[in-house]
Symmetry: C2
Subunit: 304 residues, 2 copies
Amino acid sequence: MGTLLVVGSVALDTVRTPFGEATEVLGGSATYFSVAASYFAAVNLIAVVGEDFPEQHIKFLKSRNIDLSGLERRPGSTFRWKGEYTYQLNEAHTLDTRLNVFETFRPKIPEAYRSPDLLFLGNIDPNLQLEVLRQVKRPSLVACDTMNFWIEGKPDALWRMLKEVDVLIINDGEARLLGRDSNLVQVAKTILSKGPKHLIVKRGEYGVLMFTRDHVFGAPAFPLEQVKDPTGAGDTFAGGFMGYLAATGNLSDVSIRQAIVFGSVMASFTVEAFSLDRLRILDYKEIEARFREFKRLTHFEDLA
Amino acid sequence: MGTLLVVGSVALDTVRTPFGEATEVLGGSATYFSVAASYFAAVNLIAVVGEDFPEQHIKFLKSRNIDLSGLERRPGSTFRWKGEYTYQLNEAHTLDTRLNVFETFRPKIPEAYRSPDLLFLGNIDPNLQLEVLRQVKRPSLVACDTMNFWIEGKPDALWRMLKEVDVLIINDGEARLLGRDSNLVQVAKTILSKGPKHLIVKRGEYGVLMFTRDHVFGAPAFPLEQVKDPTGAGDTFAGGFMGYLAATGNLSDVSIRQAIVFGSVMASFTVEAFSLDRLRILDYKEIEARFREFKRLTHFEDLA
């Protein structure tokens, strides 16, 4: 089993959806990623929190066997995000963002973490993502996320970083912005010509598309009876995806497709409750069962 | 091979998209349906056109072996639709609709057509859809389409009609309106409790979901490098779907899933050009090849 290193945010979220609300609950891209990945592999987490970060969350992350030696605790407050969703659950409306200690976050990779087998660069300044890459021995697979803010604000640094990345995992709208086209096949051509060997486009309730130079793979999202809170679905997807690859150590095309399905499975659990509440009580048997349901969802030949 | 009867519209369309425009070209739900289905099975078409309907279109439909004994030619003008699409190709903006002879259309099924194996009730007044059902011996499979206008304007007639239908094929937004819920799983429960055994939800570039009481099947849309005009994609889907079922005579779960994939394949061709231009030059070998590509698009185990 390979080691998996993730750099990103740990936050306290306040979220309202048509189905309820949650105040100052555990959130952040690296949090969702790590907890999802922890079902498959050992995770080393690089992030920063403030003095006010509740001890219970530390305990929870440790209980998932996530190594927190790289979780800095700094004077000041933890990153806060406040947002809401309408019935159109695909899109979050940010009400308030307080970066707090995250604003001056400079990821420092502890000596013991510098040879990860897999690395996930969460959505932070592309210059910081590059700094992380400089600190580690080249992993066998590097994946990253980014967002509109960096695509528009720091395109040069972003493209420099993408040159060194194997898998770019971003959402629909970000992909179109980055590839400067409304057509995703054209977008994929542009992005894949600049470094990444895989482009994974997250489309919320519509599932995922993965483009390589020669193939496309499409997986629908698992249709759920109740979606309570979509927050963290994308980061959970990435965590399940990278966790599975770390667990198997197999980076073949088939393995990457299966990793996408495991990522989708993990995301389908996350959205069933607020914060990481569904992941807290998740059992590996449930993951396997939903993976099997995914086959029945998508196969049109042998339905065994 | 079974006989397939379709009732719907034949129209002349004027369409503008970011990739071009077409004026007074062949369109209409029953047209797209019939031509798509004609690649798999013999089709009997029930529709109405005006005196101005160009003879070349009649010739084209006949060349596809579509039986036109049920195509009425009436005094007055043919149904006209004018619409446009922005880069957000999933949604048509209607600029003008002239029902003309279609306004007083009362489908009369010729004696020879009254025992179809499969019947597709295109998007017309649900009372007329019921009238068609009264005129035929119960086919082994009845599918139908509808739209917001009837869901809001004639809900009672619509539900009465749906009681007698096996497969309802509608788009995302229509499904949510009909099932009065934003969650498609809930929507499916409501609709499947009132008659249809299969609900097929068309989601444009995001593909298709099929719900039955026990299963869900999801197929992504085929990712295309160039989508020129999405007009008729949904009707083409329905035509490929029903045509395949008519050809095989097999209504098993696996066969219905494969029919959905063939429907998706046909729709993926239609959108590559304006009007039915791509279908005019389509070869059955291309259909089979894209069906195979669909397996590679969706499978995550054996990629053979």
